[in-house]
């Protein structure tokens, strides 16, 4: 898909913006603090109605303003149709319009603009706590499968209920919560496993193209219930139930459930090396970029449409040959947007250049 137009009103440092991005690669350059990242954030917000960079929607609204608005026209090549998305924030209220019709159901909004974004803080997916990697799984799978999101919210609720019961040291009626934990947890584990099976080869290939080395990057599912790597759904559900029963004493002592998808993790390995512990900054960064571009390919494969690729400050810390590889990858998408403090990092690249200056964007 291709974003034909983007309007912003009182979003972050933009009082008003009317931007017409080009097909192919768009490069936004300019010094720090002029609003390059805000552009990519705005597109992410339009994709999911949430910002990947901050929790509170109120922070989007420009300083001393009460409302903000974002609007975009998205062109879908597959259907040769355009869709207009409009999101406004007034106080605590968010209003969504698709083609000028109000939508209260988020499901009718999601998927219109598919975005895969790399922001520097995404490095925590490789380098941070397991919670960061679970968030990655939950966010990406929820975007792709609404039933996953439902399973996840139900699982979390059942987990809270079970833990409350454990804290009371009550064994009666624990079985009902165990059953639900097993039912929803099992669905989560199977979907995560399937996702990684599809994603892993894409990650390996993309990373190879980016790094130019033979050392393969592998990403594998590391479930807290080991048999989730291979078991069929029904076996898995039964084993999860057995584990919950077996762990009762220990769980009750600490008032928490020790095993389940809420304790899952991902393992990133470069050759034999644990990337999280021993990888350098540059290696982790390249792995992250490989993961995100592979994710974009996966979205393309599952939805039949290429997502918009957003790369925030992705060129820094990469050497010249890897920068070239990354730019080549970005150019292979129908549309990609990249920010950089240094225009010269993209010298000689076939792209449309925009100069960003204090809330103003000019084609250069």
């Amino acid at each position: 898909m291709v974003v034909r137009r983007l309007w912003l009103q009182n979003f972050r440092n933009y009082a008003f913006l009317d931007l017409q991005p080009a097909r192919g690669l768009n490069v936004f350059f300019g010094p720090n603090g002029v609003g390059k990242t805000n552009l990519l954030e705005a597109l992410s917000v339009l994709a999911t109605t949430r910002s990947p960079l901050c929790e509170r929607d109120r922070e989007w609204v420009r300083w001393q303003q009460a409302t903000c608005g974002l609007k975009t026209i998205v062109y879908h090549e597959v259907t040769n149709a355009t869709t207009t998305l409009e999101l406004s924030v007034i106080g605590a209220e968010k209003t969504l319009k698709v083609d000028d019709a109000r939508r209260s159901d988020l499901q009718q909004w999601l998927g219109t603009l598919q975005v895969v974004a790399f922001f520097p803080h995404d490095l925590s997916i490789v380098a941070g706590d397991p919670g960061e990697r679970r968030r990655f799984l939950n966010v990406e799978l929820s975007k792709a499968q609404p039933t996953y999101f439902h399973d996840w919210t139900q699982y979390r609720r059942a987990l809270q209920q079970r833990n409350a019961l454990l804290k009371m040291r009550q064994r009666t009626s624990l079985g009902e919560w165990d059953a639900q934990l097993a039912h929803y947890g099992c669905r989560l584990m199977v979907k995560r496993r399937q996702f990684l099976m599809e994603l892993a080869p894409l990650v390996r290939d993309t990373h190879a193209a980016l790094s130019g080395t033979d050392v393969p990057l592998s990403v594998t599912y590391a479930p807290s219930l080991p048999c989730a790597r291979s078991d069929e759904v029904l076996d898995l559900e039964e084993k999860f139930l057995q584990t919950l029963r077996k762990n009762f004493e220990e769980d009750a002592r600490r008032g928490i459930t020790h095993v389940g998808p809420h304790r899952d993790d991902l393992a990133f390995r470069l050759g034999d090396m644990d990337l999280r512990r021993y990888g350098s900054q540059g290696q982790q960064r390249l792995a992250m970029l490989g993961l995100k571009i592979a994710l974009a390919r996966w979205v393309e494969r599952t939805t039949g449409e290429s997502p918009l690729l957003l790369l925030d400050d992705a060129l820094s810390e990469l050497d010249a040959s890897r920068r070239r590889c990354l730019l080549r990858q970005a150019q292979s998408f129908p549309q990609a947007m990249l920010t950089s403090a240094d225009r010269h990092l993209c010298d000689g690249v076939d792209a449309t250049f925009f100069e960003v200056r204090d809330g103003q964007v000019q084609q250069a």
Binding site: A158, Q161, A164
Partner: protein, 198 residues
């Protein structure tokens, strides 16, 4: 302090009601102030009587004015089929459909350890007693399709099935008159899982 004390007191009391904010409370209070004395007397009496005269039906634990609620007293209702609901509002919803001719059992809540609700806090024992009395052939579990509703249904079926009674659960699926392409994916997924032969 802007309002006369009696008016301020009324506003303060009204504000405590669910769904009533400061603005609505003011509007209601001014309305009451302007209304006739008889109207206000009727309102006050209704408020006092609702607590004094409403109790639980001794059989199904729906709200009732007498020992037994009108549904339990109705000889035309089929006493051998019990529909179990979480609260009286759910009962009213099913009753409004006019399709169900059996009787009810109101649990008065759903299992939720977070809120301290365990089986003992619900009218589970009373339901088991009713089933044990022998005339009941089927128990229909009609809880919301939430984690709490499902847990409660699982718990009840575990308690009831050993008594030799038929235990069923409401079907889940597509809303009537709805378009398939507008139904949310979770509903469709459930409808597919619960499909039946025709």
């Amino acid at each position: 302090m802007r309002y006369a004390r009696p008016l301020a007191q009324l506003i303060e009391q009204l504000e405590k009601l669910p769904g009533i904010g400061p603005k609505s409370a003011q509007r209601l209070a001014f309305h009451i102030l302007r209304a006739s004395q008889e109207e206000n007397q009727r309102l006050a009496t209704a408020i006092l009587e609702v607590k004094a005269k409403t109790r639980y039906c001794q059989r199904c634990f729906n709200f009732s004015e007498e020992d037994l609620c009108p549904i339990c007293q109705d000889a035309r209702r089929d006493q051998s089929v019990i529909c179990v609901v979480a609260d009286p509002r759910d009962l009213t919803a099913i009753e409004n459909s006019g399709e169900f001719r059996g009787v009810y059992h109101v649990l008065q809540g759903l299992l939720s350890p977070i809120e301290g609700v365990l089986p003992d806090q619900l009218r589970v024992r009373e339901l088991i007693e009713r089933v044990k009395s022998g005339t009941v052939k089927e128990v229909i579990l009609a809880m919301n399709p939430t984690v709490e509703g499902d847990a409660t249904a699982l718990f009840l079926s575990g308690e009831l099935k050993p008594l030799g009674v038929k235990v069923t659960q409401l079907a889940m699926g597509l809303p009537v008159g709805g378009d398939l392409d507008y139904a949310d994916q979770v509903t469709i997924a459930r409808a597919v899982a619960w499909r039946r032969e025709i």
